[in-house]
Symmetry: C2
């Protein structure tokens, strides 16, 4: 049995990568993207995501994350679950702890949605 | 007297452009970014932003936006104000109507925050 936590319903395949600046979003696309942006629109979750994404080796134990905040373990776990359910991080249980990694493809997708068309033309 | 609506307090100069994947955000950086991501973490505001950013000529009259939604004028105005206060769009009153433009530099800043380090290395 794998220790990988069950994958969250990211709905990634439904999210259009089209930049906002290229064409109006459909209602479904906007709802899906709003769900993902809500996951990162929180100071604690942004800090957690940056700690995970920038960690040496690309992986970090929850036991290293919790002491960085003046918050309880369950509160940190809640925020990590929101990030995981949005498909922005993955978690794997090994022994006592869960180890988290960011999901670069999902970050790249959200980044691409916000790219202004001008910037796209410059880097194309 | 200019018809340009007063600039919102974007706090853009305080937002670090450092990608999440390069180093952990400070508390202040995370709070500032969370405020901006909250502004776009709504389906109506994402649709409005995409309609404005993708419009021919880069500008769109509020009179063209409101009929695209099953929402009242005041509700649309509220959502536009949230986007304006986050520094993502600007508005200029000309006669009866307000005309909106997106703010590409601010979109680029948020896009840059989410870029995974791998993608940065590839395009550098």
């Amino acid at each position: 049995m794998s220790n990988q936590l069950p994958p969250a319903e990211t709905g990634a395949e439904d999210v259009c990568c089209t930049p906002l600046a290229s064409e109006p979003l459909s209602g479904d696309q906007a709802a899906e993207l709003a769900h993902k942006f809500k996951a990162i629109a929180d100071p604690v979750r942004l800090r957690l995501l940056s700690m995970i994404a920038s960690h040496d080796g690309g992986e970090v134990c929850v036991c290293e994350l919790t002491p960085r905040f003046a918050l309880t373990g369950p509160t940190i776990s809640h925020h990590l679950r929101v990030l995981r359910e949005a498909g922005l991080i993955t978690g794997e249980r090994r022994g006592t702890w869960i180890y988290y990694r960011s999901h670069p493809a999902e970050l790249a997708r959200l980044s691409g949605v916000l790219v202004p068309e001008l910037a796209m033309a410059v880097t194309a």
